[in-house]
Symmetry: C2
Subunit: 190 residues, 2 copies
DNA sequence: GTAATTGCCTAAACAGATTAGGAAAGCGCA
DNA sequence: TGCGCTTTCCTAATCTGTTTAGGCAATTAC
């Protein structure tokens, strides 16, 4: 019988594509096996279990996202960098909804430590370099940016903006304007 | 054999408590049946299926949250109302993590229409009344507030702030200050 | 007290996750 | 080329969760 050529990497890659097609929740070992034309049990030599598969997809997505954001931000500063970061993030979520959902999969401390989360944190701080915020204000601002991006894209994906006008893209643009203004005049009165 | 006294309402209520204890994902018909000391199949006279159970828990949580936020905001205006809204929201997520997760369960259009989502939207707009923003800026600001609250609490719950100082509460306070400033000086230059 | 109703049961089918052990494909090496 | 070793995928089996169909017993209504 011809072999299917399973490897951990191919499974995770295919799992990520599957997530974009049918949703991260529905990305299960059995469905993945179906796509490779093998029995479910055959995956277990390459992936520890269902949770491990999802973790690996999450790590892949975090790396991809970090690569894209990093490329988008390179050579930019100030508001230019802010919008490049934000748009790269949002574009990724739109093009790869399943992978984006995967980036929200709760990681174990060990998995989180080996993830691209560190790169994400560093990039957020890099954005703020042009705004000259001292600690602890910089950390607060990093957290605000993360909250806005994560929250907006999450709500948009959940359809929270679907039943009201105007188009979310207009809100996105105006919100980025507002954030830029806010960062330039951050109230450091604590 | 003595009856367990199952009703849809009791099941949903218990399901919500279960979600807070073991997580919304783990809130399944079989586990719920276990807690009531009945067979899983017995639930199916009161709840259509697993998805229906989760939807009902989500609707319950949305109502509860709307009640709490509404009570917190009553009689307040401006920054006072803003922080009351925000804190009620965040407190609920802390006290009821499972229910809060349930509020993010994707609802069908019909379920969403019959949900407390409308109340949430109305309350967000009420908050902004004190800031005198004209449309479409008010809508953009509503979406920003929703994004920040949802994003911050989501990230906090996922442990995204656990491995860096300072305490998220400090960020929360400073972010609310910043939002207040931002809303009072919203850049209407579109 | 009996009839109708309702509530929870048993039984069964089915799908997904996971483990153990087997057979055969492909590789390294004489 | 052919031998054995390793790896890959398989079968078989178990367990858990979801869901439907049909039955008996507890409650309610008269």
């Amino acid at each position: 019988m011809a072999r299917a050529g399973l490897t951990t990497e191919r499974l995770v890659k295919a799992g990520a594509e599957m997530a974009d097609e049918i949703g991260f929740e529905q990305t299960t070992p059995s469905e993945l096996a179906r796509r490779f034309g093998v029995r479910t049990a055959s995956l277990y030599s390459h992936v520890r279990n269902a949770h491990d598969l999802k973790t690996r997809i999450a790590l892949l997505a975090l790396e991809e996202l970090a690569d894209l954001v990093s490329a988008a931000v390179a050579g930019r500063a100030g508001k230019d960098a802010l919008t490049a970061f934000a748009n790269a993030y949002r574009d990724y979520a739109h093009k790869h909804p399943g992978r984006f959902a995967a980036t929200r999969f709760p990681l174990s401390p060990e998995a989180a430590a080996s993830s691209a989360g560190v790169r994400h944190a560093r990039m957020s701080r890099a954005i703020l370099r042009g705004y000259h915020l001292a600690e602890p204000h910089q950390t607060h601002a990093v957290r605000l940016l993360g909250s806005v991006f994560s929250g907006f894209v999450g709500l948009e994906g959940a359809g929270a903006f679907s039943h009201s006008s105007p188009d979310p893209r207009e809100s996105w643009t105006e919100i980025l304007d507002a954030l830029d203004t806010l960062l330039r005049t951050w109230p450091t009165t604590s």
